[in-house]
Structure formats: structure tokens, C-alpha cells
Symmetry: C2
Subunit: 224 residues, 2 copies
DNA sequence: CGGGCGAACCTTGTATACGTGGTGGGGAAG
DNA sequence: CTTCCCCACCACGTATACAAGGTTCGCCCG
């Protein structure tokens, strides 16, 4: 892996994990020293993250981690519903048997992680969920769907949505995944799209509830 | 304007205008010499264009101008219809009087350019059209709509759609713009969304007709 | 004592130099 | 004559050096 790609991966992970809080300054020299590379690949990573919306860059004034307000999260979920729904509909007529099998494996793994002894493993579930959605995007065999969505899903608050799910919501999410696979297997675009819509809307509802209840509990967002 | 931004603007213009044909190699050193800057800002411009989908980059193997097949253009127009429709719906409840006035001015200017003596000025119309759509995106006051669409509209074939319009199609397009402004002024999201859908679908139909009729007449696209 | 101005420092933007992987051409062997 | 391998060249990736704009702290003036 190139230095630039490594820097990109490290920075993105640092941002979505909350290590770099929203609004935090990202100094090129500092990051370069921390990553053991020069400023050049760090700059490239920062510009890439800027293109994806994770950082904001002002000329001659450096880069900061982006922040998101409640209204912007609303926009994000509406656009996600549109684009992910489109992707799911496309996938319904293009998915292969091998991909369906993989999706079912992922469902299995997620349900296992959800029923783990001593509470659900939210980190693992989140990773598997990302993988499942990525698999649907691949099945859509579209050059654009996945790219458009990176700006919409790689957001700290969104990535950690699963940590907010209550048991009932978690079960509902698993149900959505299973139903989505069923719709894809049946080759029914409208069904797949509707399920994906519901899936995204459910996630949105959870986030809205949490943000409304404890607006001060999420220091990584809300403030600009 | 910084060198990097200048390089980006020049390269993008060169690509969408067809000066850099689809599939053409983009050598950093050559471009740097042509633009009178060093490789550093050229690299930054290339990566940015890559993020927007206009160029494809393979590690250690350089950058090439992207190409688009008929199926990919179909995807693009479907996604454009979704996202631009969403933007129009948002704009309907957020547009200001000043913005409405500006939109009407743009309509006026476009109709003037379309009725110019000695045939319509397609280049001017195209520019005004871009400006009008950008104005709608601004009116939507969304952080994401405009960004998502750059990957979908800044494409050589799409930008030059107006050159393909026949008089009747041109008139229809003007009508769409007027109706869109009317829907925005009425504050009716569904109406605005529907008009924008029709608008994008009409453009798609024109492109499909032309590509189907003379697939060899557009050397900038189709082949990979 | 407070506000505005200036200079030093710090960070970003750009240029240039160096290392490395990929590509193509030429030579030798079959 | 053809094919395969090796070497040289060339472009990309990264590091480093230099230039220029921004920020901040301190000083001077009101």
C-alpha cells in the first residue's frame, strides 16, 4: 500500500472513530510526523477526504474535521434513501447467485454478533453492516452508486449508528437485511428499493431520537 | 487563484470540451509544462478530477481521461433525475424572492440565446443552463446536492447535450425551465420535482437517440 | 487602560530532487 | 524467424527545500 493510501486510511479511521473530533484542526506537519511520512502524501489524503466531505479545507488556513448539524443529517438520510434505494433496485436484476450466498453469510454473521453472550458486539455488527451494504452496491454493478454514497455514509455519527440501536431496533434491522436478500433473490426491484428505504428511514429515526434526547451527549457533532 | 485551482480549471475545461479525448493519457510532466507550473499542483488537480470521476488513475501507471458507455450514461441520467429532483423539491420550500428573480433572468437570457439570428448559440445556452441548475442547487441550500451532482453532470457528452437539441427539443427545455420556476414560486415540492424529472428524462432521450443513430459520430465516448 | 498596528513565527502552497516500479526495446537462444 | 529475458529509460511516488500568506503576540499610541 502506498504512503498516501495508508495516510488516507489512517486519517479516515481517526475521523470516523471520533479520535479526531469534529472541528479539530488537522495540521499537515503534525499528521506527517505521527504517520511517519512526509507532508506530500498527507496533503493528498487530506484533499481526498475533503472531496468526500469528511474534512473542510480553507486555502492557506488548513484543514478541519467536518461537523454536521441535525438538518444536514436529515439531508444525508434522505439522499441515502434515494441512492441506496436505487442501488438496491438495480441489484435486484443483476445480483448473482454467488453474491446472494455472500449476502446470506453476512446476515448470518450479523445475527450471530447480535446474539453474542454478554450483549451485542456493536463494532463487529457495524463492520459487517458496512460490508453488506457494500456487497449490495457491488451487485448493483454501477460505476456511480458506491462513489456517491461514500460522501453520505462515512460520517462519524452515521457509522456509529449501531451503537445506538436498542435490542428491538437491532432485530428490526436484521429483519430488513433478510428481507432485502429475499427481494434481491426474487428479482423484484420495487421490493428491494422499498425495503432499503425502510431500512434507511429506521436508522434515521433512531438517530433523530437520540440527538433529540441527548443533544449534549455527542460532542463530536452539532456545533460548528 | 492558486496554481492548483488554475490547473484544475484548465484540465477540467480541456476534458469537458473534448480537447482531451476520452482515454487520452494525462502525463503530469507534460501538463505541468503546458500550464507553466510544477507537477505538484497538477497532481492535485488530477486527483481532484479523479474524485469527480473525470479521470481514472492507476497507481504507478498514470491518469487517463475517463470514458463512458451507453449503459453508464443511462445510470447517470437516472441518478441525476433522483438527485436533481430532490434538490428541486427542497428548493421549492426554501427559494427566496431574489433567487426567483435571478432564475427568471436566466430563463430570459436562454430564450434570447435560443432565438438568436442565425441559429441558437449552443455554447451560451449550455453555460446559462449550467448556471440555472446551479442556482436551483443553491436555492436548495443543501450541503450535498451540488457536490453529488458534480460527478454526474460534468461529463463531456452531457455538457454538450444542448448541441444535440433540435429546435423543438430546445423549446421544450425552455418550457421546463419556466415551469420549474413557476413550481418553485408556488412553493410546491412535488411539482418542482416532477418537472425536474421530466427535464432530465428529456435530455436523456435526446442523448439516447443521438447515440443510437450515430454511434461512430462521437469518438470521445463509447469505447474503453 | 484599551485598541489598533506591526513584526516574528508558523503553516500552507509550490518547486525541485531523488528513489522506485513499470514499460518497451534489443539481444540472445531455440 | 520467433520468442523470451534482461536492461535501460521513463513516469510516478515521496521527500525536502523554498516562497508566501496568515496568525498571534507584543508594543505603541490614543
Amino acid at each position: 500500500m502506498s504512503s498516501a493510501e495508508a495516510a488516507y486510511a489512517a486519517l479516515r479511521e481517526g475521523i470516523v472513530s471520533g479520535q479526531h473530533a469534529g472541528g479539530a484542526r488537522l495540521e499537515e506537519e503534525t499528521l506527517a510526523a505521527a504517520l511517519g511520512v512526509s507532508r506530500t502524501p498527507v496533503r493528498e489524503a487530506l484533499r481526498r477526504l475533503h472531496a468526500e466531505g469528511l474534512v473542510q479545507v480553507e486555502p492557506r488556513r488548513g484543514a478541519r474535521v467536518s461537523t454536521w448539524g441535525a438538518e444536514e443529517l436529515d439531508e444525508i438520510f434522505e439522499l441515502r434513501a434515494l441512492v441506496e434505494g436505487y442501488g438496491a433496485a438495480r441489484a435486484a436484476t443483476r445480483v448473482t447467485e454467488a453474491q446472494l450466498a455472500q449476502l446470506e453469510d453476512l446476515c448470518e454473521a450479523m445475527e450471530e454478533a447480535a446474539c453474542a453472550p454478554g450483549g451485542a458486539d456493536h463494532a463487529l455488527i457495524g463492520r459487517l453492516n458496512n460490508e453488506l451494504h457494500a456487497a449490495v452496491h457491488r451487485a448493483a454493478s454501477s460505476r456511480y452508486v458506491a462513489g456517491l454514497l461514500t460522501s453520505l455514509v462515512q460520517i462519524p455519527l452515521v457509522v456509529r449508528t449501531f451503537q445506538r440501536y436498542q435490542p428491538e431496533e437491532l432485530a428490526r434491522s436484521m429483519g430488513h437485511h433478510r428481507e432485502l436478500v429475499a427481494a434481491l433473490r426474487a428479482g423484484r426491484p420495487e421490493w428491494a428499493e422499498a425495503v432499503m428505504h425502510a431500512h434507511v428511514e429506521a436508522a434515521r429515526a433512531t438517530l433523530r431520537r437520540d440527538l433529540g434526547a441527548e443533544p449534549a451527549g455527542e460532542p463530536a457533532a452539532m456545533e460548528r
